[in-house]
């Protein structure tokens, strides 16, 4: 795909009454509604995080801040590789597009592996499970749902990569697909930016933090 053909694709949407392609507007509307979803889960956690419970450690007492900081950095960098994939396709560079898509999926997988490790540590070493106390339950539900979103994103990225590999490149028609996956991926990143600060850094008990 050439820069000129991308130019054309970007203006296919002009006939829409809003001036924005319907699928793209639907994605923005979906992401907008996701604020309410994650907002509810973050609020739920915050309401319980300041309370004390008779049973077992709360997440704030056992956070491993250095480890989570590295995970956050990995997810942040995956947003860079995602936007570079978008940029490469807009220039018609199919090889670079595939490379950056794969890099984004790999970084997302590293983040997920980190989350699996964190959950395993909390459950088996620290003895904090979903049933330990309401704060632990709220934490697992919030970060579990975020991890699920990341996993769905990784599947979409690998699908785009596979499609590009099989068809010898993403066509002009598929440019919007990459753009939609990109929007979803960056959204998952901004939600983690909020979770990392509000859920981890602001609620961690002094002395915790690795």
């Amino acid at each position: 795909m050439t820069a000129a053909s991308h130019e054309v694709s970007e203006h296919h949407d002009e006939h829409e009454s809003t001036g924005v392609e319907n699928r793209k507007l639907a994605m923005w509307a979906f992401l907008s509604s996701e604020f309410l979803f994650f907002g509810a889960l973050i609020t739920n956690y915050l309401l319980y995080s300041s309370r004390t419970f008779e049973q077992g450690p709360t997440p704030a007492e056992i956070y491993d801040i250095p480890f989570t900081s590295v995970s956050s950095f990995v997810l942040l960098m995956s947003s860079l590789t995602m936007v570079l994939a978008h940029n490469a396709l807009s220039r018609g560079d199919q090889g670079a597009t595939r490379t950056w898509l794969l890099a984004t999926a790999m970084l997302g997988s590293v983040f997920l592996a980190g989350q699996v490790f964190e959950f395993t540590e909390f459950i088996t070493v620290q003895g904090m499970t979903m049933q330990t106390n309401p704060a632990a339950s709220a934490f697992f539900v919030l970060t579990g749902f975020h991890g699920t979103h990341v996993a769905i994103g990784v599947i979409m990225l690998l699908s785009l990569f596979g499609l590009s590999k099989r068809m010898g490149g993403l066509t002009d028609k598929r440019f919007l697909n990459l753009e939609l996956v990109g929007l979803y991926w960056h959204f998952v990143d901004i939600i983690w930016i909020v979770i990392f600060t509000v859920v981890y850094l602001l609620t961690a008990v002094p002395g915790a933090g690795g």
Binding site: L25, L47, I65, S79, L84, F187, I190, F196, A204
Partner: protein, 103 residues
Amino acid sequence: MTDEHHLSHPSPAQYVKIAVGLAVLTAIEVALFYINNALGLGWINTAALLTLAFFKFFVVVGWYMHIRYEKAAVSRFFIFGFVLAFSLYGVVLIGLGVLAATR
């Protein structure tokens, strides 16, 4: 933000610079966490961390999600959801916090 696509998207080099900036902000956040642990900065720590997080949030939305370059319909959708969630859960947190304090 514009309806007429006057702004051109950043170059790959500019995207990398933005990522470096975001990484530096994350490092400052983590440093603040440890400084607060040692010195007990109180509300200053909370305000600083929230400011940094919101700054990172808006940089990703503006430059990586390209909302700066999108039509107004898109940004209205997105900002509406964000403001609605922020207001709704802000009220819930303040309300329940006040309730808990009066018990």
